[in-house]
């Protein structure tokens, strides 16, 4: 599944010193306040690579994804996609960029329009990107559905008539129908059941093997990232504190925060849990001493 990551010299996506902030609406006389969410984050994603992004909620990992998707404007820095800096584009991203960079969001129920048939999401996307022939739209929609393991029958269903896993498959079909080169998966499996999670992760892996698409896989669960990511970035308080190969993150974490995150991840077996609890307790005692010191 790994393949050769370095077939081309230039990475598909090159994010340099990215900073993103949210503006707070100030009072009538007050100045506008900018709350920084992401500060000075740099990383690259190669062709056909999956980069995992982990961190607590509020660490800024989703904001990085949104900036790449151009849903929030960057304050500073560069987002170079395929050799072109998209941070320079105006308020609206060019259509070609929309075709190349797609997204799968966390809540599959919310990411599909409840009033529109499952097929509608894909048809609208195709139509927007210049496919006008009705028969072609229909066949490509069906093709996309079959690619993610859905059938003709699912086309004519409303989102609430599909299970969570099926909804997420529709969302993946929508993301992949344009044959993008990068898909931002923002907690794409977090809301799903354990057995469904596995299916979706396998599906994403298969699709990558088949199409060579790259993923930015954002999750708070380290266990999931381990399976799909070639490299993992760890975000904490708006900064990228560690970025290394998946093996290295799990086997030899460098940054204390990464170690803490690994320590907090529930183990898959009860063995040794008392020691783990004692270690967490010791860590907390240590940090509370630091916090309470004047």
């Amino acid at each position: 599944m790994t393949g050769d990551l370095h077939t081309s010299a230039t990475p598909l996506l090159d994010v340099r010193s990215l900073s993103v902030g949210y503006e707070l609406p100030a009072g009538l006389l007050g100045r506008r306040k900018v709350v920084p969410a992401v500060e000075d984050v740099s990383f690259t994603i190669s062709h056909g690579e999956t980069l995992g992004f982990v961190g607590e909620s509020g660490s800024g990992k989703s904001t990085v994804g949104k900036a790449i998707l151009r849903l929030v404007p960057p304050l500073a820095g560069h987002i170079v996609f395929d050799g072109r800096d998209v941070a320079d584009d105006g308020a609206r991203a060019p259509l070609s960029y929309r075709r190349d960079v797609q997204a799968v969001f966390q809540d599959p129920a919310a990411s599909l329009n409840p009033r529109q048939l499952a097929s509608h999401a894909i048809e609208t996307t195709l139509r927007r990107h210049g496919v006008t022939d009705r028969i072609e739209i229909r066949s490509r929609t069906l093709e996309a559905f079959e690619m993610v393991g859905l059938t003709r029958d699912h086309l004519q269903r409303f989102p609430n008539e599909l299970s969570g896993g099926q909804q997420q498959r529709v969302a993946i079909a929508r993301a992949l129908v344009l044959q993008p080169r990068l898909v931002v998966c923002d907690e794409a499996v977090s809301a799903l059941d354990l057995s469904t999670q596995g299916q979706i992760i396998n599906l994403l892996g298969d699709l990558q093997a088949a199409t060579g698409v790259s993923y930015l896989f954002i999750a708070h669960d380290l266990g999931l990232v381990r399976h799909i990511a070639h490299r993992v970035g760890v975000m904490s308080a708006g900064s990228l504190v560690e970025l290394a190969s998946t093996e290295q993150i799990f086997d030899a974490p460098q940054h204390p925060y990464t170690r803490r995150l690994l320590g907090a991840t529930p183990s898959s077996h009860p063995d040794g849990r008392d020691e783990r609890r004692a270690r967490r307790q010791a860590f907390r005692d240590a940090s509370s001493v630091v916090l309470e010191a004047p």
Binding site: M1, E56, S57, L69, L71, A93, L95, R98, V101, F105, Q106, A110, S111, L112, N113, P114, R115, Q116, A121, T124, T125, R128, H129, E146, G149, T151, D153, Q156, F158, E161, L162, S163, G164, A171, R174, D193, L194, S195, Q197, G198, Q199, I201, N202, D206, H220, D221, G223, H227, T246, A264, T265, P266, S267, S268, H269, P270, D271, R273, R277, R280
Partner: protein, 633 residues
């Protein structure tokens, strides 16, 4: 491809008509189940028919004057009598319905055409658009509607189009406000972001994506406003500022009747009754429509829908996959027998659910589970397995549409099954407590945390204000809220997710419970916070020795905290073992499959084991066998 098994699944088109291919079909079938709406709808239909066929149904021309029959009471010739010019009341009433419906319909359309786009633009653009636009809407709404109507008619003159426009203007602010409110909710939904990512232009997002979600509220509001429009039209005609007097309208008829009340009291009744009935019909119909669009979906437990889906998928799997003979592995759930230290003993608990087609189904089947003093017992299952329903049955808080069908629930030896809500509420306040997934749902947003902590202490423990406050501070400090005294006066939204869950735990502790039910209490938290909250629960168990029932879908949570765990699948407890045994030597096929499928378990970066296809069929077979055995008994 991995999805071969899934791709093989083809759901047969259900031919029982339960599924409608359009939302419209669903709405109509729901409305057919509301008698009030049917009557109102029939009346509206009748009115519309009469209005359309007025020249055919009306006995006379509404303007024809019978000077010999002025102010005549009802007779065979004039069924509803005549007015002061000798015009037939019935004919005027019938022709009046044309005007009434036309003006009302026109007004609603004008109101929607003006109001909805304004609401869409204000809601979607936000910022200054919204702030300034909504001030104007506020101003328009503050003015009495009639005043706007009178002004417009006074300036532009009296004719039917202007009347429609005047009434439409009154309604426009209603539509704008409602549309904006819905858009504010919808624009933050992920599907709008998804549309943006797909590159859809803003215009298409507003009108193609958001507007369809507004159809329900707009239609409902329109139907209700139709009633109001009729009332306004009638009132304006009554005051003589509506349409010219030669055009028959109900309001003008009423006005005329008032002038002649002393001589011809019969004149008031027909237009009065017509107005009341019509306004009522539109209101009832609009209400029913609203219920059909949203209400029933709410009333029908989500659980029911999910269950129906799961059943259907299962049936499809069974139909298409090669069926393996069940019985290869039989998992028998054995309850660990506890002595006197049992806090909770449930035996054969079954919970029934009313299905949309009025049949019943059991969503928890003969579940038996015991929690001892100081023991943490996990109840593990996927969504829809019935684990949360079981917890709610123990708490006596089953959602509407579900009920305890059979079984015994003993807390400290006391039977709780089928007890009155008042008694259960006391038990919940003193001996058992619960922490749920979303702490913000458990905490009231309008009261301070201190108030919410002290109230149960005063109610159930009989403390006075100072005592309760002191205890509340102790509790908050115990659960790790820093600066507890100051934070008592904070509102829940001032706490982060993890801290809010700590507050919810403090509230649960206030009861000094013997049993704490944690229903997915850490599922919404991220790993570091989850570890802290789980450690807190462990510490509290060590300190107070309470029993904990830990409902979760996470194997990791069970592995890290539970002493014993039960696994639930399709409403049944399939396995109940000490936690080390559960993870090392799982007995039931489903438990084994779950452990295999745990992404944290597989060490390599290869494919993940999933529970689908033949494996799922085999597990389902085991459950079906259990069901069959029970039915046979």
């Amino acid at each position: 491809m991995s999805e071969t098994t899934t791709t093989a699944i083809t759901l047969s088109e259900p031919d029982d008509g339960r599924r409608h291919t359009t939302n419209l079909g669903r709405i109509v079938s729901r409305m057919r189940r509301q008698p009030g709406t049917i009557v109102a709808g029939a009346f509206i239909l009748f009115l519309a028919t009469v209005a359309l066929l007025a020249p055919v149904v009306a006995p006379y021309d509404p303007t024809q004057v019978f000077l010999d029959n002025v102010l005549e009471p009802p007779s065979a010739q004039f069924l509803l009598g005549t007015d002061d010019l000798g015009r037939d009341q019935l004919s005027r009433l019938i022709y009046g319905s044309q005007i009434v419906l036309l003006v009302a319909l026109g007004a609603v359309i004008i109101a929607a055409v003006i109001g909805v786009p304004l609401g869409l633009v204000f809601g979607f653009n936000g910022g200054w658009w919204d702030r300034i636009g909504m001030r104007f809407v506020d101003m328009a709404q503050a003015l009495p509607g009639m005043l706007i109507g009178i002004t417009v008619v006074a300036i532009l003159g009296r004719n039917i189009v202007i009347l429609m426009f005047a009434i439409g203007l009154i309604g426009a602010s209603l539509f704008a406000r409602m549309t904006r409110a819905v858009v504010l909710v919808e624009r933050n939904k992920l599907y709008v972001e998804a549309a943006e990512v797909a590159g859809l232009p803003r215009r298409q997002i507003i009108f193609g994506q958001i507007l369809p979600n507004l159809v329900g509220p707009i239609v409902t509001q329109g139907s209700v406003f139709l009633g109001s429009a009729i009332m306004i039209e009638s009132a304006m005609s009554f005051l003589g500022i509506g349409l010219p007097s030669e055009i028959p309208t109900w309001g003008a008829m009423l006005s005329l009747a008032l002038d002649n009340q002393a001589v011809a009291p019969h004149l008031t009744w027909p237009p009065g009754i017509a107005i009341v009935l019509t306004v009522l019909a539109f209101s009832v119909f609009g209400d029913g429509l609203n219920d059909a669009l949203t209400g029933e979906r709410k009333r029908l437990p989500r659980l029911g829908l999910r269950l129906a889906q799961a059943e259907e998928e299962r049936a499809a799997r069974a139909a298409t996959s090669v069926s393996t003979a069940p019985g290869a592995v039989t998992g028998t759930a054995t309850a660990v027998v506890h002595g006197d230290d049992a806090v909770l003993v449930t035996h054969d608990v079954s919970v029934a659910l009313a299905m949309p087609d009025r049949s019943q189904t059991r969503i928890v089947k003969n579940a038996s589970l015991t929690v001892a003093k100081g023991e943490i017992v996990g109840l593990l299952g996927e969504s829809g397995s019935g684990k949360s329903t079981f917890a709610r049955a123990v708490l006596g808080m089953l959602p509407p549409g579900t009920w305890l069908a059979s079984g015994s629930i003993r807390l400290l030896g006391e039977e709780l099954a089928h007890r009155q809500e008042r008694e259960l509420s006391h038990v919940r306040g003193t001996r058992m407590a619960a922490v749920f997934q979303d702490p913000m749902n458990a905490l009231s947003p309008v009261h301070t945390v201190g108030m919410q902590l002290t109230e149960p202490l005063r109610l159930h423990k009989g403390m006075n204000r100072t005592q309760a406050r002191t205890r509340a501070v102790e509790l908050l400090e115990r659960v790790g809220v820093r600066n507890a005294l100051a934070r008592l006066d904070d509102y829940p939204h001032q706490f982060s997710g993890g801290m809010a869950q700590r507050v919810a735990i403090a509230m649960a502790l206030a009861a000094d419970p013997e049993l704490l039910i944690a229903d997915e209490a850490t599922s919404a938290l991220d790993v570091t916070t989850q570890a802290q909250v789980l450690d807190l629960i462990l510490d509290l168990r060590d300190e107070y020795g309470m029993g904990v029932l830990m409902i979760t879908h996470s194997l990791g949570v069970v592995a890290e905290t539970c002493d014993r765990a039960a696994v639930m699948y399709r409403g049944r407890i399939v396995e109940d073992s000490p936690v080390a045994t559960l993870f090392s030597e799982p007995r039931h096929l489903y438990t084994r499959s779950l452990l295999d499928a745990n992404p944290a378990n597989a060490e390599t970066s290869g494919r993940l084991v999933t529970i689908d296809g033949d494996l799922r069929v085999e597990i389902d077979g085991l459950i079906d066998q259990l069901d069959a055995e029970e039915d046979a008994r």
